[in-house]
Amino acid sequence: MARMATNRRVAISTVGAWLAGFLIFFPILWMVLTSFKTELEAFAIPPSFLFFHWTTENYATVQERSDYIHHALNSIIIAGGSTLIALLIAIPAAWSMAFSPTKRTKDVLLWMLSTKMMPPVGVLVPIYLIWRDFGLLDSLTGLVIILCLGNLPIVIWMLFTYFKEIPKDILEAARMDGATIGRELIYVLTPMAIPGLASTLLLNLILAWNEAFWTLNLSTLNAAPLTVFIASYSSPEGLFWAKLSAASTLAIAPILVLGWFSQRQLVRGLTFGAVK
């Protein structure tokens, strides 16, 4: 009896979990489906789920009207560049906070995190003016800098938690072995923190790839990444649902594939330190 009750409970939670998963995934699925519809069918009420006239003409139009490759390359440069620079700054920062903390370390960490609590629009005007005066508007450099700064607190926090898990003894052993701080970072700490570094890198890549506020406001064409490419399909001339969906599908495809292949690393990274 008890086993049957357990089985039923397992069945119910399995169905529940699948349902929840489907609900969360549904908008993405709907977007992909819509991208294969004609504009007319995309608006149709009631909407057709699978039985519609499948077409790839939206993709062709999108590529024709706006240069996907140009925007995708910009996205790669901006997301990759800002992530790498953030890591280069965050590794030593997190190292010093994890291994030689002072009385104020916790406050510094909280203060950094608090900058993420402020709505970005609050500093849009000053940042815009600074970027204009330094000639950084619509430049890859400008976007790399702003996204790097924006994500730095999170990167430092994540690395700080990973580094905290590394036994201090090992670093002291390296010090006794004659390693300078730089060599200790390169030969001992970084290789040991590779799982943590990898998940921080992935998460930051995704955050930077999807970042829309600064990329939309600080770029127009030259430096415009995929977020701008998508936004260009919701125009004053009217909404083109099918084309917008096709553009969105193209924009999220690379990061979706990356996420799919690294999901184990991501989950491990996000739960790292929660359970030993």
Binding site: D169, I170, A173, A174, R175, M176, D177, G178, T180, V188
Partner: protein, 334 residues
């Protein structure tokens, strides 16, 4: 050379004084053990010598040169940690070679030295394994290999055997002692295990609450403990302490008698009592005796003794082996 001298070394963490002025002279090639209860400051003192902590006051001389401002790597010491602290991402070879690599030695020389160290420690078959593929004893050997390969002025051991099981601990104890004698390098060894201290040390430093209570050879500590703390800490089972009239008879506030220096008899002169627990180990018999006003006394007899709980016996101390202490707990010498 590895002569280490501590002159009034002090260490405080904020308002807490961990080391309250340590003076010590460790001669070249000797094996010195720091022993004491947990929290007595023995590990801190070792880390001060290593340079992993900065002193608050005093000086540390290595071969006559004050090193308090010298970084750990430049002091010419190497350390074996309690947790082994091996580099998990490097092979055994990489672990042992790391220090030499940092020193910028040529590759061929590094290889030669690593292989020699591995041969000394029976690690040759494991050179290409990662630490996680080794047993506790092997990991400990790698940690020791990493220390010896640099040919340091002195080895620092921080409770290196406490993570091993009892049998392995005894074996490694012998190996470490033998290796130290073979290399004739100064060694400072921290432990809370007084048996380890007694068996390995040329000289023992007994620490208590940040103070050096006594510094001497194992037998000096056993035979002439400077005070009640050392008397109680060194020796197993613990020394019996008796106060009051029985002590006053010997002109002391407290007298101490080691369990092995109590004569056990059925009757006669001495301290009468009733056996509470009798432990028969074959080689030894330990008796825990309820001696009325004197409290519980422990007596040790070498060999088997036909006595059991409940028996009435008389314990008489060997008069030449009585330790006398004044009311402050310091030893009285006649």
């Amino acid at each position: 050379m590895g002569q280490i001298t501590l002159q009034d070394v002090q260490k405080s963490f904020g308002p807490v004084h961990i080391i309250k002025g340590a003076n010590l002279d460790i001669s070249d090639g000797s094996f010195v053990v720091f022993v004491g209860p947990s929290g007595c400051g023995k590990t801190t003192l070792l880390r001060l010598i290593a340079g992993l902590e900065d002193v608050t006051g005093g000086s540390i001389l290595i071969d006559g040169k004050n090193v308090v401002d010298v970084p750990p790597a430049k002091r010419g010491l190497s350390m074996v940690f309690q947790s082994y602290a091996l580099y998990p991402h490097m092979s055994v070879r990489g672990n042992i070679a790391f220090g030499l690599k940092m020193a910028g030695l040529p590759k061929a020389e590094i290889n030669r030295k690593v292989e020699a160290a591995a041969a000394t420690l029976n690690l040759t078959p494991y050179l290409d394994r990662k630490p996680r593929e080794l047993s506790g004893g092997q990991r400990q050997r790698v940690a020791i290999g990493r220390a010896i390969v640099r040919e340091p002025k002195a080895f620092l051991f921080d409770e290196p055997l406490s993570n091993l099981d009892a049998a392995l601990r005894v074996q490694m104890r012998l190996e470490v002692t033998r290796l130290q004698k073979q290399l004739a390098t100064t060694a400072i060894y921290v432990t809370h295990d007084q048996v380890e201290a007694m068996t390995m040390a040329d000289k023992i430093v007994v620490l208590n609450a940040g103070r050096i209570e006594q510094y001497g050879t194992p037998l000096e500590l056993y035979e002439k403990p400077a005070n009640l703390f050392v008397a109680g800490f060194i020796g197993s089972p613990k020394m019996n302490f008796v106060n009051g009239a029985a002590a006053a008879k010997y002109g002391a506030a407290t007298i101490g008698v080691r369990p092995e220096h109590l004569r056990i008899a059925r009757d006669g002169e001495g301290w009468p009592g009733k056996i509470a627990v009798a432990e028969h180990l074959g080689s030894d018999t330990f008796l825990y005796v309820d001696a009325g006003a004197l409290g519980t006394l422990t007596a040790r007899h070498v060999g088997e003794l036909d006595l059991s709980a409940g028996d009435d016996i008389v314990l008489s101390p060997d008069p030449s082996r009585i330790h006398r202490f004044d009311k402050d707990g310091n030893a009285l010498r006649s």
